[in-house]
C-alpha cells in the first residue's frame, strides 16, 4: 500500500468501480507523482481506461478515494471542474474538432471554458497567443495552423490532441494509447513529444500496449489485471515479474 508523499499528484485509495454488477476495478490503491512519466499496462479489460474515467470524473466510483494533491477529492467533482483543476486527458481515438481549423482547436483548449465576454469578441491575451504558437511549433503543425483539422493525418490529429492538453499547461496529463495506429516514424516523434512533457510540476500517465514504446518513455510501470494492481516498478523489473509474464503470456 502506497503512502502519499509531498510530490503525489493523484492518490487513489481503496477504489472500487462496478458496472451493473461487473467489478471493473477492485480495491485499487496507487499513487501518481509529479515529475514522472508513468505507464499503465495490462490486458484488455484490466481497468486502465476505467481508472482514467474515474480520475477525470466521467465515471463515479462505488467506493474509495481519488485525491488531487492530497486534498481535492475528485470523486465528487464533475468533468468540467476536474479539467479546470488542471487535469488534461487524451482519448483513445483522436477527438479533435474536425469542423475547426487546427489553431482554433488550440484556442478552445487554452480558454479552458472561461471568459465568455472574451470569447464573444474572439479575443485572446497576447501570452495565450504566444503559448499557442509555441505549442504549434512543438507538435510540428506550425505551418498548417490555418488548415481544417479534418485534413490532418491520423498521427497529426493525435499530436494536435496532445497539443490541446499542452496549451492549458496541465498538472496532470493522461494519455490513452497515444501511439495506437501510428507509423514507426510518427511513434518516434511522439516519444520525443511525450518526453518533452516531463516536468517537476507535472505528472504524465500513459496507457499503452506497445511495450517498446513504454520502455522508451516510462520512468515507472504499473501493471493492472482484472481491476487490480498486479505489480509496479521499472520496465526491467516488471518484464521479469513472473506474475506479469503469466498474465500476458499465460493466456
Amino acid at each position: 500500500m502506497s503512502v502519499a508523499t509531498s510530490n503525489t499528484a493523484i492518490y487513489v485509495s481503496g477504489l472500487n468501480v462496478r458496472f451493473a454488477g461487473f467489478a471493473a476495478i477492485t480495491n485499487l490503491s496507487m499513487e501518481l507523482r509529479y515529475g514522472e512519466i508513468r505507464a499503465i499496462i495490462g490486458p484488455n479489460g484490466a481497468g486502465k481506461t476505467t481508472l482514467m474515467d474515474v480520475i477525470t470524473g466521467k465515471t463515479r466510483p462505488a467506493s474509495g478515494d481519488v485525491f488531487l494533491d492530497r486534498h481535492t477529492n475528485l470523486a465528487v467533482l464533475d468533468e468540467t471542474s476536474i479539467a479546470r483543476l488542471g487535469i488534461g486527458r487524451k482519448f483513445q481515438k483522436p477527438s479533435v474538432f474536425e469542423a475547426l481549423p487546427v489553431r482554433e482547436n488550440l484556442e478552445l483548449a487554452i480558454r479552458n471554458g472561461r471568459g465568455y465576454a472574451d470569447m464573444m469578441r474572439s479575443r485572446l491575451k497576447s501570452e495565450q497567443n504566444r503559448r499557442i504558437d509555441e505549442v504549434l511549433e512543438m507538435i510540428g503543425l506550425a505551418a498548417i495552423g490555418r488548415r481544417s483539422a479534418s485534413t490532418l493525418s491520423h498521427g497529426q490529429k493525435q499530436w494536435l490532441e496532445i497539443g490541446m492538453l499542452l496549451v492549458a499547461n496541465p498538472r496532470v496529463i493522461l494519455l490513452d494509447e497515444p501511439v495506437a495506429g501510428m507509423t514507426d516514424h510518427e511513434t518516434a516523434r511522439t516519444v520525443e513529444l511525450i518526453a518533452s512533457l516531463k516536468s517537476p510540476e507535472r505528472a504524465v500517465v500513459v496507457i499503452e500496449h506497445d511495450m517498446d514504446f513504454v520502455g522508451q518513455i516510462a520512468d515507472l510501470v504499473s501493471v493492472l489485471h482484472d481491476g487490480q494492481l498486479l505489480g509496479e516498478g521499472s520496465m526491467e523489473k516488471v518484464r521479469n515479474d513472473p506474475r506479469v509474464i503469466q498474465v500476458y503470456l499465460g493466456r
Binding site: 468540467t80 474538432f97 482554433e104 478552445l108 471554458g113 472574451d118 470569447m119 474572439s122
Partner: protein, 371 residues
C-alpha cells in the same frame, strides 16, 4: 475529356465559392433593398406596372420574413449547437400571444367593447393583469424577458440533465403539442379555439391602414437583417466555434473545462427571443392569433425549411424559409391539394441529392475550391 470535365467542375466550384462568400454579406443589402422597395412599390409605382406590389403581396413578404426569422432562430440552435428543437413554435407563440394581448388592450381602450371570448367567460371586465401590456415598448421588453426566462428554465433543466439529440426533439415536440392543447381550453382565458382577433391599432397606427401594414412588413425585413448580422457575428466568434465544438463532441468539451450547458443555454435563449420577436411581428400582420401557432406541424415545418436551405449556414435557413413559404403560398392558392406532396417531394430530393441542403452544399463546394 478529363481536362474538359475538370475545367467545368472548377468553374462550378469557383461560382459556388463566389456565391457562398458574397451572398453571406450580400444578403444584407438585398434585404434592405427589399425593405426600401416595399413602400415605393405600393405608393410610387402605378398599378398597371409589373413592378407594382399589391398590399396582399407586401403582407405576404412580411409574413415570410417572420418565418425566415424563425428559421434563423432554429438554425442557431440546430445548425450550430446540435439541438434540433421541434418546438420552436412555443417561443413564436409566446411572442404572438403577448402581442395579441397588447393589441386587445388597445382595442378595448378605444372601443370599450370586451372581446367576445372574455364576455363568454363571464368574468366581468377586462383582465386587470393584461393592463401591464398597454404599451408596445413595455410589451416588447416583457416578451423578451419572459421568453428568455421560459427558455432558460427549460434549457437549464434539460441541458444539465444532459438530454440530447432525439430525446430533446421529442420533448420539445411534446411540449408544443401540450401548449396547443392548453390554449384550446377556453377557461385558460386566451381565446381558446378561436384565438384572439379584432385588433384596431398598434402604437397609435390603425392596424388596417396600408401604411401600418407596409410598416410591419418593412419592420420584419429589418429585424431579419439585424438578427442575421447578430447571429453571424456570434457564430463566427470564438463563442460560436465553441458551440460548434459542443455540437460535434460535447463530452470532449467538458474535459477541456467547458460548462457545456451554459454555452447551449446562451444559444437557446437567444434563439428563443428571436423566435418570439418573429411572433410579435407576425400576429399584427395576419390579424389573429390562435392555438395553431403552436401546433407541432409548424414547429416541424421550421426544421424542414432549415434542412432544405442547409443547416449551419444561417443564410441557408433564411433562403429555405423564403423558398418553401413562397412556393407554399403560390401553390396552396393554385393547387391546394398537391402542396403536401410537393413539399414532401422537394424535401426528399434535396435531402438525398444535396445532403446538407442547397446552401450547405454550395458552401461546401466553395470551400473545396478554395482549398
Amino acid at each position: 475529356m478529363t481536362t474538359l470535365f475538370d475545367t467545368a467542375r472548377r468553374r462550378n466550384w469557383a461560382l459556388s465559392a463566389f456565391l457562398s462568400k458574397w451572398m453571406e454579406i450580400g444578403i444584407v443589402p438585398v434585404l434592405i433593398l427589399i425593405a426600401l422597395y416595399l413602400p415605393f412599390a405600393y405608393f410610387a409605382i402605378p398599378e398597371a406596372s409589373v413592378l407594382h406590389m399589391s398590399l396582399f403581396g407586401i403582407n405576404l413578404i412580411g409574413q415570410i420574413m417572420c418565418f425566415a426569422l424563425l428559421a434563423l432562430a432554429l438554425d442557431l440552435v440546430w445548425g450550430y449547437a446540435g439541438m434540433l428543437s421541434l418546438g420552436h413554435g412555443i417561443f413564436f407563440g409566446i411572442g404572438g400571444y403577448l402581442m395579441a394581448i397588447y393589441l386587445l388592450n388597445g382595442a378595448y381602450a378605444e372601443t370599450r367593447v370586451l372581446p367576445d371570448f372574455i364576455q363568454y367567460m363571464g368574468t366581468g371586465g377586462f383582465p386587470a393583469v393584461w393592463k401591464i401590456f398597454s404599451r408596445l415598448d413595455v410589451t416588447v421588453a416583457i416578451t423578451i424577458v419572459f421568453t428568455a426566462l421560459v427558455a432558460g428554465a427549460f434549457g437549464f433543466v434539460t441541458f444539465r440533465s444532459r438530454i440530447n439529440g432525439v430525446y430533446l426533439s421529442i420533448i420539445t415536440q411534446a411540449l408544443t403539442y401540450a401548449l396547443m392543447l392548453l390554449l384550446f381550453i377556453n377557461d385558460v382565458g386566451l381565446g381558446g379555439n378561436n384565438g384572439m382577433t379584432g385588433f384596431t391599432s398598434i402604437a397609435g397606427h390603425r392596424i388596417a391602414d396600408v401604411s401600418t401594414q407596409i410598416g410591419l412588413a418593412v419592420g420584419s425585413c429589418l429585424l431579419l437583417v439585424i438578427a442575421y448580422v447578430g447571429a453571424r457575428y456570434l457564430v463566427r466568434s470564438s463563442l460560436g466555434r465553441a458551440l460548434v465544438a459542443v455540437r460535434d463532441d460535447e463530452a470532449r468539451m467538458r474535459f477541456l473545462g467547458y460548462r457545456t450547458y451554459t454555452l447551449k443555454l446562451i444559444a437557446w435563449c437567444l434563439s428563443a427571443v428571436i423566435a418570439a420577436l418573429a411572433g410579435m411581428l407576425y400576429v399584427p400582420q395576419v390579424g389573429i392569433v390562435n392555438p395553431t401557432i403552436v401546433s407541432p406541424q409548424l414547429s416541424v415545418e421550421i426544421a424542414v425549411w432549415v434542412a432544405i436551405g442547409g443547416r449551419g449556414t444561417l443564410i441557408g435557413a433564411i433562403a429555405g424559409a423564403i423558398l418553401v413559404n413562397g412556393l407554399k403560398f403560390w401553390l396552396t392558392s393554385q393547387l391546394p391539394e398537391v402542396w403536401p406532396f410537393v413539399l414532401a417531394g422537394v424535401t426528399l430530393v434535396i435531402v438525398v441529392a444535396f445532403g446538407n441542403g442547397v446552401w450547405g452544399s454550395l458552401k461546401a463546394a466553395g470551400e473545396e475550391a478554395n482549398r
